[in-house]
């Protein structure tokens, strides 16, 4: 008897624990804004717990110039942030200004009318390039809902000491690069600390090694117009180009996680790490003695373009909550965030590339990354341009590329998986 009752209760209990989590509810926490005469407190929600001290310094600049305004950066855990923000934005006690994810991940907030359109509110947005504004745009109405704050660029990051030890310099041609990989491998050094087990890194690595092969923005334009797709030859070739480097990945790379790959690189067991520019700060923290360099993959034989393309995308933006009781003050804050003072403070304090046009990073490698990206930009196709509906190309690519590098699918099958998923909702632009 006890077993039967316990069984039934346990079934109900264990299942509904999961159901609770999906229930939308009123946001928690105290009021973000206190209107007391001219005193205004603005809550800025974000997912960067490690950046609190830097944001305090940055917002101090705004507070000094705007007496009576207090800006508080309220961080949440990155993997819980999206859920918390979705409920928080619907309530006046939520944020006044919020860090927003870019591209497809922004769309649920736009659909819920949780954000204030900024097209007519922030004049400085007119100076931002269209490719940057795409990261903060609602797909359904084309309006801009955030001021982009950071660009992320994708590179091969290398250990300068290992390169020096083996007489290697940043490669200028594909053949140079493969030769360098071979030299390192012969010397017992893992050339590339590639992440395989954490599948979200696979589309990033594919862009780093395959962008020139499929052609970057030129090919993207054809894809958006419906004239090309994931299953066409340039894209298929880009998959095999990337996969051809797997002989230089770590032994038993199938089980190498993101954390493993980072540790392989920072411990000096691997000479290079293909990933985002945000890794610079992470690597410097893990091993302050590391001397780092970056390069991008030169076009391989048969590539669609002969330039060394540098993929990049908008990391996120700052938007204004439609439920904020201090919307005007919040709008003033994001107007400042679109300007030079915020952009410079952001790049100096956080060691990231500011999305504000004209801001030059003081950090040498960041400046190199930005300059290279601006000279030969390439999109992060699956994440940025085919992620506005379900299933997103980014999710599909993560699955398909995992199958592909593990030998469970051919390039055609992997590309077919992405195309079949996207075809359910994507409509070519006229």
């Amino acid at each position: 008897m006890i077993g039967r009752r316990c069984g039934a209760l346990a079934i109900l209990g264990t299942l509904t624990l999961g159901l609770v989590a999906c229930s939308p509810s009123a946001s928690e926490g105290d009021s973000g804004t206190t209107g007391d005469g001219d005193e205004v407190t603005l809550e800025v929600w974000g997912w960067r717990q490690e950046d609190v001290a830097a944001y305090e310094k940055i917002f101090q600049l705004y507070e000094d110039a705007n007496p009576g305004v207090t800006v508080e950066y309220v961080p949440y855990k990155a993997d819980e942030y999206d859920t918390i923000l979705r409920t928080g934005l619907g309530d006046a006690s939520g944020p006044d200004v919020a860090q927003l994810r870019s591209y497809g991940l922004l769309q649920p907030l736009v659909a819920a009318d949780s954000l204030v359109p900024l097209d007519d509110e922030v004049d400085a947005l007119a100076d931002f390039p269209d490719s940057v504004m795409d990261g903060a745009r609602g797909v359904a109405d084309g309006q801009v809902y955030g001021v982009p704050f950071a660009l992320q660029t994708l590179h091969v990051i290398y250990n300068q000491a290992i390169f020096d030890e083996h007489g290697i310099t940043a490669p200028q041609t594909w053949d140079d690069m493969i030769a360098a990989f071979g030299t390192l491998q012969s010397a017992g050094v893992t050339p590339l600390a590639a992440t395989v087990a954490d599948t979200w890194m696979l589309p990033i690595q594919h862009e780093i090694f395959g962008a020139s092969t499929y052609g970057g923005y030129d090919y993207l334009d054809q894809m958006l117009a419906g004239a090309a797709g994931f299953t066409d030859q340039p894209w298929l070739d880009s998959l095999t180009t990337w996969q051809s480097t797997s002989e230089f990945w770590a032994p038993q790379y199938q089980g190498v996680t993101y954390a493993d790959a980072q540790a392989l690189f920072t411990s000096g067991q691997a000479a290079m790490f293909p990933g985002g520019i945000w890794e610079l700060a992470v690597f410097a923290q893990a091993n302050p003695d590391l001397e780092l360099g970056i390069f991008n993959v030169p076009p391989p034989p048969g590539a669609a373009v002969q330039e060394t393309l540098v993929p990049g995308y908008v990391d996120g933006s700052f938007g204004v909550s439609a439920a904020s009781p201090d919307q005007e003050a919040a709008l003033d804050l994001v107007r400042w965030m679109a300007g030079e003072e915020f952009g410079q403070a952001f790049t100096d304090e956080l060691r990231q590339i500011s999305a504000v046009p004209g801001i030059e990073p003081a950090d040498e490698l960041l400046a190199q990354a930005l300059e290279a990206h601006l000279a030969n930009p390439s999109p992060y196709v699956t994440y940025a341009y085919f992620s506005s509906d379900q299933p997103t190309a980014w999710d599909l690519a993560s699955e398909a590329l995992s199958d592909f590098v593990l030998g469970g699918a051919t390039a055609e099958e992997a590309a077919g998986h992405i195309q079949q998923g996207v075809d359910q909702w994507f409509e070519p632009q006229s």
Binding site: T14, S114, D260, L406, G408
Partner: protein, 314 residues
């Protein structure tokens, strides 16, 4: 049988009934309130939400069975549901075969050799106290192909060919999940079987021995049939646990279910639909949750009734 003894009995039952109602209400109301608020309300709410289309957190139009249809037919979600369900089934079968069988073996060993019984009971139950997330992350470190001690030890003793990316190979990922899960929970069936073994009257075993039954024959013909109630409870609890698994597999293989989705299970599928889904994530995930609920609840009840019928009482 006289009427004398009945009167006080009737009176006491009457008194117990009157006072009992108040006491019962007083004791159960807090628990019922919590149960209602934390379990029944969200369950009913999810059922309700599943019939609407959602724009982020805003409820839009009535969708009828649209969300159910979407979940079952959209590529690749519709294809992933049977695959994930099959992985849950394999996980259940593997857990029954390894965790519960070895648990029974350990219980018999400790029952026969009471020396150090408490010590081993504690040792085998200790992993219980650790969160499955921590267990998962610990084992993913132990099994790491780059830094893990498991492969290092294998290579050190000349078994290089045995060293492999345990969690990165689609062929080994699910068996490893079953073994790690068994490592954590093996103390559960062991304790239940140990208690059940202690409840079997010694006379039955002595009678079997006097009749000349061997030790193995006495176990299979006398003890094991009397353990069936425990087997039933453990089977149902294992079924529920295996079909609700999330935390351990998330820690071992991430939300995608490891290499090529080799460890993808219904819990991860729900997580991806709810927390990595699009604008209508609430509607679709509610529909998926209700389907999983009906499946587990229905099968668990059928399973339990089937096992109850086969019980033997001493």
């Amino acid at each position: 049988m006289t009427s004398g003894p009945r009167r006080p009995a009737r009176a006491s039952r009457y008194r117990a009934g009157r006072t009992g109602l108040g006491w019962i209400a007083g004791f159960t109301l807090p628990a019922l309130t919590l149960y209602g608020l934390l379990i029944v309300v969200p369950l009913v709410t999810a059922f309700y939400y599943g019939f609407f289309h959602w724009e982020g957190t805003q409820r839009a139009g009535f969708a009828g069975l649209g969300n159910y249809q979407e979940v079952l037919t959209r590529y690749p979600l519709g294809d992933e549901i049977p695959v994930a369900l099959w992985h849950n089934v394999l996980f259940f079968v593997g857990t029954m075969a390894i965790q519960n069988t070895v648990g029974l073996g350990l219980a018999v060993l400790l029952y026969r050799n009471p020396r150090f019984k408490r010590f081993f009971q504690t040792v085998f139950s200790l992993p219980y106290l650790i969160s499955p997330l921590i267990v998962g992350y610990l084992w993913s470190l132990l099994l790491s192909p780059s830094f893990g001690p498991v492969n290092y030890v294998l290579q050190s003793v000349g078994l290089d060919s045995w060293a492999r990316p345990w969690l990165g190979d689609p062929g080994t990922a699910l068996p490893v999940l079953i073994l790690v899960n068994a490592w954590q929970w093996i103390g559960g069936p062991m304790l239940i079987f140990l208690a059940a073994l202690g409840g079997i009257p010694r006379e039955l075993e002595e009678a079997a021995a006097l009749d000349g039954a061997s030790s193995a024959r006495a176990f299979w013909s006398v003890r094991f049939p009397l353990l069936r109630p425990a087997v039933g409870v453990i089977t149902v609890l294992t079924f529920i646990g295996c079909f609700n698994i999330f935390d351990l597999v998330y820690a071992l293989g991430g939300s995608d279910g490891g290499p090529g989705g080799a460890m993808d299970v219904l819990g991860l599928l729900y997580y991806r639909t709810a927390f990595e889904g699009g604008t209508n994530a609430i509607g679709e995930s509610s529909a998926l949750a209700m389907m999983i609920f009906v499946l587990i609840f229905g099968v668990a009840i059928v399973l339990e009734r089937f096992l109850r019928r086969r019980e033997v009482t001493s």
